[in-house]
């Protein structure tokens, strides 16, 4: 469990980091929190020839909200969300979800953006970003582009990022006071990857759902946004009956994977439970 040899750079500015990326491309990996990359290197599952450590790049270490929403820099740690980073339902949701991510020491190092770049299908942040219409800002020496989250994940551990691109920022649209959210995750132990999870956000006015967001994670090669079920929710009451219906349809709409921790049949039932509980929390 010693990593293969690698060269190590610790640039102090974003432009230096991007220059290194442009030079080494596929041969290099970005090191932010290292909570997935370093174990993979120790197992020699990952053998980057070059590591570019971005921890000295102060301009990537921010999280702030403005009228366009929430902006999360590449060095923002999971633990930054223990306290609410923005007033209202979005900050509360981030805070609730953060506590499901691994364990306290890991949350001090691992980063939000790193989770997205790693693209683990059981990642809580990937589910949150997918469900809440995040935009990924990728920067390279060539320039900058915004990637809608729906176009970002290509599958397990695979994203739309080009070899010379750095995931510099994640942007989430604002969530006004009318929104209510729910999140439910089941894992074998506290802090483990989800066997199944769901995230729901509803904007309810006078008992009627005006807008809905619903996604599930841990069931396939990436988080899934259930847009058709969101449409079913809009225009009616978030009643127990409606929630049960949505949960049943979520069950029918997924084809989960099996592994040593869960059979596909179990996972499918778990997804329905997670959807039901997330929606129930959001509707409460």
């Amino acid at each position: 469990m010693k990593p293969a040899a690698f060269d190590y750079f610790r640039p102090a500015s974003l432009s230096d980091a991007l220059a290194l990326l442009a030079k080494y491309k596929d041969d290099c990996k970005i090191l932010a929190g290292g909570q997935s990359l370093v174990p993979a290197m120790n197992f020699r599952l990952a053998r980057p020839a070059i590591l570019i450590d971005i921890n000295d790049i102060a301009e990537l270490d921010y999280v702030h909200a403005d009228d366009r929403g929430l902006h999360i820099g590449a060095l923002t740690r999971h633990a930054a969300f223990h306290r609410r980073v923005v007033d209202g339902p979005l900050g509360a949701l981030f805070s609730a979800v953060a506590r499901h991510i691994a364990h306290y020491p890991i949350r001090q190092r691992g980063t939000f953006a790193g989770s997205l770049a790693h693209a683990d299908p059981a990642s809580e942040w990937c589910l949150l970003a997918t469900t809440l219409d995040a935009t990924v800002v990728a920067k390279s020496a060539r320039g900058e582009r915004a990637i809608a989250i729906g176009d970002f994940f290509n599958g397990t551990f695979s994203t739309d990022l080009e070899p010379d691109e750095l995931l510099a920022e994640v942007h989430l649209p604002p969530m006004g006071q009318g929104w209510r959210t729910g999140f439910y995750e089941f894992s074998r132990r506290a802090g483990d990857f989800a066997l199944g999870m769901a995230l729901a956000a509803l904007r309810i006015e006078a008992g009627v759902v005006r807008e809905a967001r619903l996604g599930v994670g841990g069931v396939s090669d990436r988080a899934i946004r259930l847009r058709k079920l969101e449409e079913r929710l809009v225009g009616g009451a978030a009643s127990q009956e409606m929630i049960d219906t949505i949960a049943r349809e979520a069950w029918a709409s997924v084809s989960p994977i099996g592994d040593i921790h869960a059979t596909p049949e179990y996972r499918r039932d778990l997804v329905a439970t997670a959807v039901k509980r997330a929606l129930t929390e959001a509707a409460a």
């Binding site: 197992f43 132990r189 869960a262 439970t273």
Partner: protein, 759 residues
């Protein structure tokens, strides 16, 4: 001041709390080299060749050896319970002709640092002709090594244990209750992985192996035999040990390879196991299937029991020989009378990591099988599970109770016990009737909650003997030297308490030396919950000898008789008051006549048999298949508690491990024999989140008549019946008697119970 029975804080904790512990990886020697083991990537296959040239060319590589380079080394022999028939199934230190599991050592690299060693190991190419692996211990036996050992099958031994007239019992039965259950493959996973540092001192012609654990003296002798080293040329030294659990400290290929390399290369050689290696290479355990048939009468009394079971021994038979299967067969009847019994235990090899003992070997498994059977008898006869246990218990008046069979070479004779009394005390503590009413009311409200209980007999204090020498120096400091080992269980504190009690000296003035083969000529180590019984008794005997010598010498100096003197607070005093002498002064006086010393040897031909009851209350969430342990209680009779706090610690830690094996931990293999749980991401250890507060009801109602202290062992009490108790509680929560037949009870298995089998 009494020292036995008090919860002293551990005297060994100072360096550990200060971060000054000396674990295997903390041992270093100037100029040391680092060893890396190249392991088989396939489960079963013929070795066509091992190509090392590319690796050998790497800068910093000092040596690479395959089996041809260590041809003179014999396979690793049995430490206990060996049989002649098992000999062909022993493991070579490097695989010869065949590889038989993923992780089987094929070559070793020795290099200047661990990074280069691992780089080079990656470059070694194993050319292996893959064969279909055997992965099911209940399937028909297959060839062990087809053309090397023609006709040799993967069933090294079948053990039989029987007494009474089983046929008559079944003929007289009102009902026959049958059951098949399985305990998954899991093992002890110490926080500290294995490690070894071999240092050869050319000046003294002595090789020292640091990182020893559990059985240093036995391993000294075994390695000496393998390497052809004469007496006094090999020394094993135990530092701090970060957990043993039966698996750590057995003799493994890596220990022998480190010693061989240090001798050949004349440089210190260090090997530290990484976690992935540990999960592939250190002993696995459990993994048994039991098929039981009980002949019972209307009251649920078991007239006779037939058992056939299978132990998945993995790829080779390691140092434990038949131990696990032997203990399973002998301990399956547990605390119950069972007048007729016939057990057949199959030791079967598969292409998985070899197995050995893990805390409560053969009992965690057999208790699960037996207690599931008792619950099923209760269900089929419409009786309460508690009542069926009461009906079957061996009565206190029947003690000592000779089971009429042997295990580990000794007759199974329960030395003392009040089994029913302990169960009643546990039920009282829980307000059992009221508790069941409360649970029923909660179930009526839709909650899936249930309670389960499981009873067991443990064994402890395996002989044959242990030796202790105690010396007092001129400053009045006491040194206890023993050949037992410490795996972190509090050996130093417990032995010091027994010494302090006997010679009346403050515990702070006692040092305990253990696990050093150059300090005492024999030692039988730390396993089978034997240290307090064996070394504790030897300490008592040695302390008494030392006390007598001190009093005799002091009597001469004070011109009185020994019976007019007593020992107190490190002084010899006249009973009538007045004159007194410090022990240190007496030691100085005796300097030229052998010093102030005492020697004690305790020999035991029989084990002691502690016993216990586990009780669990669980809640199941049927929508997620999550299990919450709401309450867990262990009742245990330890005979006599030297340090109740340490015993409770043993029980709580054992219960945590038992929960791991019952709900989380499992070595899963795919159809090619590739291990799928080879890291902590997939091999799930319980954490503080999953382990509830464990309540302990510690009793001293049945002291052992077999040793001067009346003590029994405590190491395996907490783990023994966890699988059984949780299974019963989950059955009750689901209101589906007999639903749980397999450990671990994972969410996916619970899902299958609730929703029916997979389509």
């Amino acid at each position: 001041m009494s020292h036995i029975g008090r919860s002293f804080r551990r005297i060994e904790d100072g360096p550990l709390l200060l971060g000054k512990g000396s674990f295997a990886a903390d041992c270093n020697a100037p100029g040391q080299l680092h060893m890396r083991v190249v392991r088989s990537p396939v489960a079963f296959g013929r070795i066509l060749g091992v190509e090392t040239a590319e690796a050998a060319a790497l800068e910093g590589v000092v040596a690479i050896w395959t089996t041809d380079d260590v041809a003179e080394l014999p396979p690793i022999d049995f430490r206990q319970m060996g049989l002649e028939a098992l000999a062909p199934y022993r493991q070579w230190v490097l695989a010869r002709d065949y590889v038989r599991y993923v992780g089987d050592p094929v070559a070793v690299v020795v290099a200047v640092d661990p990074y280069v060693a691992e780089d080079a190991a990656d470059l070694v190419f194993c050319d292996i002709e893959e064969l279909a692996p055997q992965l099911d211990a209940t399937a028909a036996p297959s060839a062990f090594m087809p053309d090397i050992h023609p006709g040799l099958l993967s069933e090294p031994a079948v053990l039989r244990r029987a007494y009474g007239d089983v046929d008559a019992a079944f003929a007289a039965a009102d009902k026959i209750v049958a059951l098949e259950v399985k305990v998954g493959r899991h093992t002890g996973v110490p926080l500290e992985t294995r490690g070894a540092l071999g240092v050869y001192d050319a000046d003294k012609d002595v090789l020292t192996l640091y990182g020893a654990a559990k059985v240093p003296h036995y391993n000294r002798d075994a390695i000496s035999r393998m390497l052809g080293l004469g007496e006094g040329r090999l020394h094993l030294s135990e530092g701090h040990v970060g957990g043993g659990f039966g698996i750590r400290g057995e003799l493994y290929p890596e220990d022998v390879l480190v010693c061989a390399a240090a001798l050949r290369l004349r440089r210190p050689v260090k090997w530290i196991e990484d976690r992935k290696e540990h999960l592939l290479a250190a002993n696995h355990s459990r993994d048994q299937v039991y098929r039981l048939r009980a002949a019972v009468d209307r009251r649920g009394f078991i007239l006779g029991l037939e058992a056939e079971f299978f132990t998945d021994q993995g790829a080779y038979v390691r140092t434990h020989g038949t131990t696990v299967t032997d203990l399973s067969a002998a301990m399956l009847p547990g605390p119950y009378v069972i007048p007729a019994y016939a057990a057949v235990g199959h030791i079967r090899l598969t292409n998985k990591t070899p197995a050995g003992t893990y805390r409560a070997p053969g009992r965690y498994e057999s208790t699960f099988a037996r207690e599931r059977l008792i619950d099923k008898i209760a269900t089929e006869l419409d009786l309460s599970p508690v009542e069926v246990r009461r009906v079957n218990f061996i009565a206190a008046e029947a003690m000592p109770f000779d089971r009429g069979i042997k295990t580990l070479g000794t007759g199974v004779v329960y030395d003392s016990g009040q089994y029913r009394d302990l169960l009643e005390r546990v039920l009282d503590r829980l307000s059992y009737n009221q508790l069941q009413d409360e649970l029923a009311a909660r179930r009526d409200r839709g909650e899936l909650v249930g309670f389960g209980v499981a009873c067991f007999v443990e064994k402890s204090g395996l002989g044959p003997q242990d030796l202790v020498r105690i010396t007092v120096d001129g400053r009045g400091t006491v040194e206890i030297v023993t050949g037992v080992a410490s795996v972190g269980q509090g050996v130093e504190t417990v032995l010091a308490q027994i010494c302090a009690e006997t010679i009346g000296i403050p515990i702070e003035r006692i040092n305990v030396i253990h696990g050093q083969t150059d300090r005492i000529e024999i030692g039988f180590g730390a396993f089978a919950s034997r240290v307090t019984v064996m070394a504790g008794s030897a300490v008592k005997i040695a302390s008494e000898a030392l006390r007598d010598r001190a009093l005799e010498a002091a009597a001469g100096l004070l011109q009185t008789t020994p019976d007019a003197l007593k020992l107190s607070d490190g002084m010899v005093e006249a009973v009538s008051g007045g004159a007194s002498l410090p022990l240190g002064e007496i030691a100085l006086h005796l300097k030229d006549s052998g010093g102030l010393t005492g020697e004690g040897r305790f020999v035991a031909g029989h084990m002691t048999y502690p016993y216990g009851v586990h009780a669990a209350q669980v809640k199941v969430d049927p929508s997620t298949c999550g299990i919450t342990i709401e309450r867990y209680l262990v009742g245990y009779d330890v005979g006599r508690a030297v340090n109740p706090m340490l015993i409770e610690g043993q029980i709580v830690g054992g219960a945590a491990q038992g929960i791991g094996g019952a709900l989380l931990e499992e070595f899963v293999y795919d159809e090619n024999g590739q291990p799928l749980a080879a890291s902590f991401a997939d091999y799930l250890m319980p954490t503080c989140h999953e382990v509830p507060e464990i309540e302990v009801l510690l009793r001293e109602d049945a002291p052992s008549p077999l040793n001067p202290l009346g003590v029994k062992g405590a190491g395996e009490a907490g783990i023994n019946a966890v699988g059984a108790a949780l299974a019963a509680a989950i059955d009750a929560a689901l209101q589906k008697p007999g639903a749980v037949t397999q450990l671990p009870i994972t969410p996916a298995r619970l899902h299958e119970i609730l929703r029916g089998p997979r389509s």
